[in-house]
Symmetry: C2
Subunit: 325 residues, 2 copies
Amino acid sequence: MIGEDELIARYFAPLAGPAGLGLQDDVALFAPPPHADLVLSVDGLVAGVHFFPEDPPDLVARKALRVNLSDLAAKGAEPLGFALTLALPRDFGEAALAAFSRGLGEDSRAYHCPLLGGDTVATPGPLTLSITVLGQVPSGRAVRRSGARPGDRLYVSGSIGDAALGLRLRLQPELRGVLSESHAAALADRYLLPRPRLALREALRSGARAAMDVSDGLVGDLAKLARASHVGAELRLAETPFSQAAQELLAGRPELLEVAVTGGDDYEVLCAVPPDRAGAFEAAARASGVPVHAVGTVLPERDGVRVLDRVGAPRVFARPAFSHF
Amino acid sequence: MIGEDELIARYFAPLAGPAGLGLQDDVALFAPPPHADLVLSVDGLVAGVHFFPEDPPDLVARKALRVNLSDLAAKGAEPLGFALTLALPRDFGEAALAAFSRGLGEDSRAYHCPLLGGDTVATPGPLTLSITVLGQVPSGRAVRRSGARPGDRLYVSGSIGDAALGLRLRLQPELRGVLSESHAAALADRYLLPRPRLALREALRSGARAAMDVSDGLVGDLAKLARASHVGAELRLAETPFSQAAQELLAGRPELLEVAVTGGDDYEVLCAVPPDRAGAFEAAARASGVPVHAVGTVLPERDGVRVLDRVGAPRVFARPAFSHF
């Protein structure tokens, strides 16, 4: 393996913005944007836990960055830059590193999120990454988790369950028999490459009272939003958006509905919108090109969080959210 | 092991400042300080690479934070807060986690550096941490690595080599025979607990043209500062400050001088000060309570980086800086 300095110069310095000082200093240095609040998100990813060791390194890098960008998106923020810690096992060779850096650079440019700095270390364990993303949002306009009020409408962006079903297809390849090839590929892709909903930021800032990204499963994440806001909630699965691929799989294997709504890795936005702003929110979302669907209602805290199945009957899940512990 | 939410609520939420939103949101959120530049530093630490798996978890946590604070110190910055990614092996139980959180909280308070956010994940590998520290410095006043000019005096803070010698004592316990017990303990302590020189920030801002923290060995880090500044440099080991403990060990084992000046983990500040500011710099340093010593001179780039030994003869080291690769 090449030395650390050369590794940084070759694979990471090209990703650095002006704040990164060419990755030649100990730090990144920048003037904060005026009239803005700063938003910071951190995520760690471990090979064999958050992704498969055999996943292409460029996609691992892109997923790691996108997972953090999804947190910014849900707050109505836009990216300023990111810092990376990379713990490399000995068998992660230069070809893998080159692919990792290529994927990271691609998304760094696409999302206008330059590298600020980082640290590359050796590990006897699995490939481990930590990304810290900094973002900005106009002062006072960030959308928190804790702002939902009874009567608000609950919306989710995009479609729910694709990534969790894509993961299930990898774990149980025999399920592919139920699906067309293109639908199987679409679900697999959603697991590998989240789509942070940064385009929704204007709609969220002006319309939403509370928001979070769906990363651990819709049902469990809704419970978290409700807890942070001290409210209850009703989620209606009949109105929850599923992609055509997910619908095809769920038609053949209805028991996988639980995986779809509790499995996680969606990286869609869940938000609470007061009824009098719902029209404007939907219009702004339409203008952004990101589909949103009303999926439920915020209730008083005493009503708790309930899920109605596709025929309107209450449904309880054994394990509402994904957890590594 | 308890669940992730409870783990965060019990061990990390108490460390969060207001920006951390009680660690109940996806992000940290804060208004940037006015008239300030932001400084960001990242460091990863892996058990078995950067510390011993048997090191007390509270000291591991404190070292991880201090290593980053040392980067801020060298830039003349002060802490705003930090983010933590913690990859926990299965055998890192609740007692270890409680100790880790206690140590981290102690230093977080002592250095006025609250927790902004983080991510706790499981790993099949060794305990792995990544800390991102954010700091602030008055606009335009950060001290970079790249500002040294020929004729500047080179200073280092504190004493050099203690931590590297402390590490060597752990690897070769028979060396303890050369030392008094209290000196052996002092060196061991310097390896476990760096002392970030945040108190030097005023002196650095007003006096230094270039600075960095010494983390990979004085000789190699001076070469990095020279490279970033496009200058040469002369380091005089006769003037390099060694603690009484280091002096005692080096008297008995002179060959360890190389370890002392190339081994790293010093977390002292190395800086370049123009001669006409040297008096003011020394006075400001004295007022801060941090000892500084002139150890060399910045030269034109063509002169390269040279080290003069204790009798003034040129000295070349096989491996001037620590590297994990």
